[in-house]
């Protein structure tokens, strides 16, 4: 069982009402709608796509400088829109996410096709300021907006056979031109153990920097698992499948010796392309030491007590 550590439990009273109120007003101006009561209206009055309403600020946060929004939205790995870091921003400009649907399948009591809003609306949105560590040895600090994955998964009522959760990205080479070349085995697939998926740090994110998720960062909905290398945090999700057996994952299929199923940030496990001991924080020149589990060891290490992490990398 996962224990929620004290330091996450930020009482609502600690969330200063003033900035929250300000945020809400900003949003209402932007969306041109009239919102409900404080924190009771996390989702903006539905227009074409998902819009962010009220959210609880800094529910989980770290004391590190947040990466420039411009950098976080212009330097991305999202091969569906091209393999260069600048490609996703350039090639996703016209990507439409209206009427987004997610197919839920496998070992759960509520399989089916869900509209994104129907799936997410019961839950309030939290801001989570997390480190993001790419396997390419660079890192950022990003203020995500999202919902604990556990909340969403529980609402789908997984059965006792659900030991893993698999995710799938949209496969549509017209809308995602990067998929016209078989650089990876499309659609992009990722997966977590049920314990990882249910861990309170794991979120389904629908926005960042106080705004709706930009296309290049995985609109309209993506996973964020802060203690794993970035490629585990799958973008533009259209499928969630509960399973008894470990799902295949895209980078693992592409290069099994380099990218394991777990892919936890681990400075001790060597990678043939990049030393994982150190990383370059975007905005800095020199590298800094990489932290075990990306600095979240206290929270997640117990998930791997019985696992040899050099074998299960």
């Amino acid at each position: 069982m996962i224990k929620i550590k004290k330091r996450w439990e930020i009482p609502e009273s600690e969330v200063t009402p003033e900035p929250l109120y300000r945020r809400r007003r900003e949003f209402m101006q932007a969306a041109g709608t009239i919102g409900g009561a404080l924190l009771l209206n996390p989702w903006a009055a539905a227009q074409a796509s998902l819009a962010i309403g009220d959210y609880q600020e800094k529910v989980i946060s770290i004391d590190e400088e947040i990466t420039e929004e411009e950098d976080a939205t212009s330097y991305n790995n999202f091969y569906e829109f091209g393999t260069d870091k600048e490609d996703p921003k350039r090639n996703s400009k016209r990507f439409k996410t209206d009427d987004w649907q997610i197919v839920v399948s496998g070992e759960c009591d509520k399989p089916g096709t869900y509209g994104l809003e129907d799936l997410m609306k019961p839950f309030s949105i939290e801001e989570r300021i997390y480190r993001l560590r790419c396997v390419e040895a660079w890192s950022m600090v990003i203020p995500w907006l999202g919902v604990p994955l556990a909340s969403v998964l529980k609402s789908l009522q997984p059965t006792s056979k659900a030991r893993y959760v698999g995710f799938k990205t949209l496969h549509d080479p017209v809308r995602m031109p990067g998929q016209q070349r078989s650089v990876l085995n499309w659609p992009y697939r990722e997966g977590l153990t049920i314990a990882e998926a249910m861990h309170p740090l794991t979120i389904l994110s629908v926005g960042m920097y106080g705004k709706t998720m930009p296309n290049q960062n995985g609109a309209p909905i993506r996973l964020v698992v802060p203690w794993k290398y970035g490629f585990k945090s799958i973008k533009s999700i259209v499928g969630i499948e509960f399973s008894e057996t470990q799902p295949r994952t895209s980078w693992n299929i592409a290069a099994p010796r380099e990218y394991g199923f777990y892919s936890n940030v681990n400075p001790e496990v060597n990678h043939p392309r990049w030393s994982q001991k150190r990383e370059r924080r975007i905005g800095e020149i020199f590298k800094r030491d990489t932290l075990m589990f990306n600095g979240y060891a206290e929270e997640v290490a117990e998930l791997y007590d019985d696992l040899d992490l050099t074998v299960n990398f």
């Binding site: 600048e86 390419e136 975007i282 020199f286």
Partner: protein, 202 residues
Amino acid sequence: MWLKSVWAKPLLHLLCLLPFTGLLWAAFNGGLGANPVEKLTHETGAWTLRLLLLTLSLSPLRQWTGQAAWIRFRRITGLYTFFYLSCHFLIWFVADHSLDPGAMIEDIVERPYITLGFSAFLLMIPLAATSNQFMIRKLGRKWKSLHQLVYLIILLAVLHFIWLVKADYLEPGIYAIIAVILLAHRVGPIKRIGIKSAPVVR
């Protein structure tokens, strides 16, 4: 003929310096994006490879066009190759490893693509050092065999690129094909296509 013009060499110098000045300019104007170090590493690496391929295509060009003058440019393009390679190497040593020799050696030993790139760099030092008239005369016949190391260098360089790519092999593939054509020209029957002229080293 413009190839033999007195302006040809100064123009070539300018062209070879263009990417460098472009990068310098971008560096001081925030034009290198979110990860300037990576951008500089990639750009200097790519220009090293392009100039190396250009250097290797001068002798085939001489044979295909019958213009011996192409060879006059070999020393210039060769030295600029070494210049961009030195920048490429220094960025890695300074920004990636903070000038720490231990970390540098570990990277060379543990990462095959660095092993290959670093070998190419080491092999290129004697070539750059012996590219002047004095050494050419002093080494005589040996000079030529020494400089045939460049064939090994291009192989190492292309493998370095292929090995460091994660999944998209298009770009290194294109360079690899060009390199193979240029190398095949030295050994295969392609060599006999076109007009031959006496080798000139200047």
